[in-house]
């Protein structure tokens, strides 16, 4: 299974990686339990920073598309096919739209919503 990264594409490199790995899982080029290359190997092959690949793997692990088993490396999660079809970005977008609609219906202005959102994000970042 081969992946192609376009370094001039506007889509971030780690997103391209995530999308292609998910696509490979969906079309069954990668099956549950299949081993993935190490972060270092993939970064060297694609001439990318290790952190970029690590970020992609981290997000794939969060979405339960891959699973990391210590020194043995990363593998495709047993429920990867179902999990990779779940679009987290679309869900975030729909939840935020719903929240904005609720706030606007209560009379909040655009700038108030923006300020509140930024504050909430900042507070969350500080806590983390």
């Amino acid at each position: 299974m081969e992946i192609v990264i376009d370094i001039d594409d506007q889509t971030p490199l780690f997103t391209q990686l995530i999308e292609q790995i998910k696509k490979a899982v969906q079309n069954e080029s990668l099956l549950a339990g299949d081993p993935l290359p190490s972060i270092r190997q993939l970064a060297k092959d694609l001439d990318l920073n290790n952190k970029t690949v690590a970020k992609a793997y981290q997000l794939l692990e969060r979405d339960q598309v891959i699973v990391t088993r210590g020194y043995r490396g990363s593998f495709i999660h047993e429920h990867a096919k179902i999990n990779s079809s779940r679009d987290l970005n679309a869900w975030i977008s729909s939840e935020i739209t719903k929240a904005i609609e609720t706030l606007k219906a209560s009379g909040a202005t655009d700038s108030e919503i923006r300020i509140a959102f930024t504050e909430a994000m900042n507070n969350d970042s500080n806590e983390n």
């Binding site: 299974m1 192609v4 092959d45 694609l46």
Partner: protein, 285 residues
């Protein structure tokens, strides 16, 4: 007398194999690539305008050096016959190193060529295979354990010969340190190929896998041959059969080159390589 005759036959074989047969195979191979995949149809194979000329010139130098070792080999052998000089293992060793030198120089210029290719590669597309590269993908654990066993047997034999007396100034310890250095060097090469950047940025993944496999097999065969050679060499010394030492040295070098370069040429044969990746309209890999 019989040993001397066999030694001369071995040296003639060595001159033929190391200075003519394998160099000619390499020359034919590069000439085939230059004539069948020229810059007009495969521009990505030539990182600079004068790459083809440079390659031809390097090839001529390689041919000159290898042909010179043929003349030198025969001249030294005749000199030894007429002056009744006894050929020893040190002479065979240095002559063999001289024969191997053109191959090393060619390898260095190949690495420089790949460096230029990496520099000139401006493609925005990069590809990778979603499969981990592991040492045992290329070599079976059984084969690997044979190399470890051969090395182990030699180390035990070496200690036995020295009455299990480890002295830092002894020959045995020098050989062991040399062996360790060679194996660390092999490990670095293998690690660099498996985990490092692509040497040739345009090489197709299948070709890269085959290349890594052939290098791993070469290091494997060299390791086994080295252990066996040292074991037999020590045995000969132990039994006081010193007149066999130069013959053994010659056979060892022939084996190394036969297994090393021979394996490399066989597994990486031209018809298996995908040259379409070097076409103008080809996407980078």
């Amino acid at each position: 007398m019989t040993v001397t005759i066999i030694l001369y036959i071995a040296i003639i074989c060595q001159i033929y194999l190391l200075s003519y047969f394998f160099p000619q195979k390499i020359i034919d191979r590069i000439n085939y690539v230059l004539s069948h995949y020229p810059a007009s149809t495969h521009p990505k194979l030539y990182p600079s305008e004068n790459s083809a000329e440079k390659a031809t010139s390097r090839l001529k130098q390689f041919k000159l050096l290898t042909r010179s070792t043929i003349i030198l080999g025969f001249a030294l052998s005749l000199l030894a016959v007429f002056t009744k000089t006894k050929i020893n293992d040190v002479m065979v060793f240095f002559f063999s190193m001289l024969q191997v030198l053109p191959f090393i120089l060619l390898e260095i210029s190949e690495l420089k060529y790949y460096k230029m290719m990496r520099k000139e590669n401006t493609s925005n597309k990069r590809t990778a295979v979603l499969k981990p590269r592991r040492y045992f993908n290329y070599i079976s654990p059984l084969k690997f354990s044979v190399a470890v066993a051969a090395l182990g047997i030699y180390i035990v034999f070496n200690f036995y010969r020295n009455d299990f007396n480890i002295s830092l100034s002894g020959d045995g310890i020098i050989t062991l340190v040399t062996l360790a250095i060679v194996h660390v060097y092999f490990a670095i090469i293998v690690f660099w190929l498996m985990r490092g950047k692509k040497i040739n940025p345009l090489m197709e993944h299948k070709d890269r896998e085959r290349h890594i496999g052939s290098v791993i097999n070469t290091t494997y065969y060299t390791s086994v041959a080295m252990s066996v050679f040292l074991l037999v060499y020590g045995l000969i010394q132990h039994l006081g059969l010193d007149e066999w030492k130069p013959l053994l040295m010659s056979i060892y070098f022939q084996m190394i080159v036969f297994l090393g370069i021979g394996t490399m040429l066989k597994t990486n044969s031209i018809d298996k390589i995908n040259f379409d990746v070097y076409r103008k309209d080809a996407n980078a890999t």
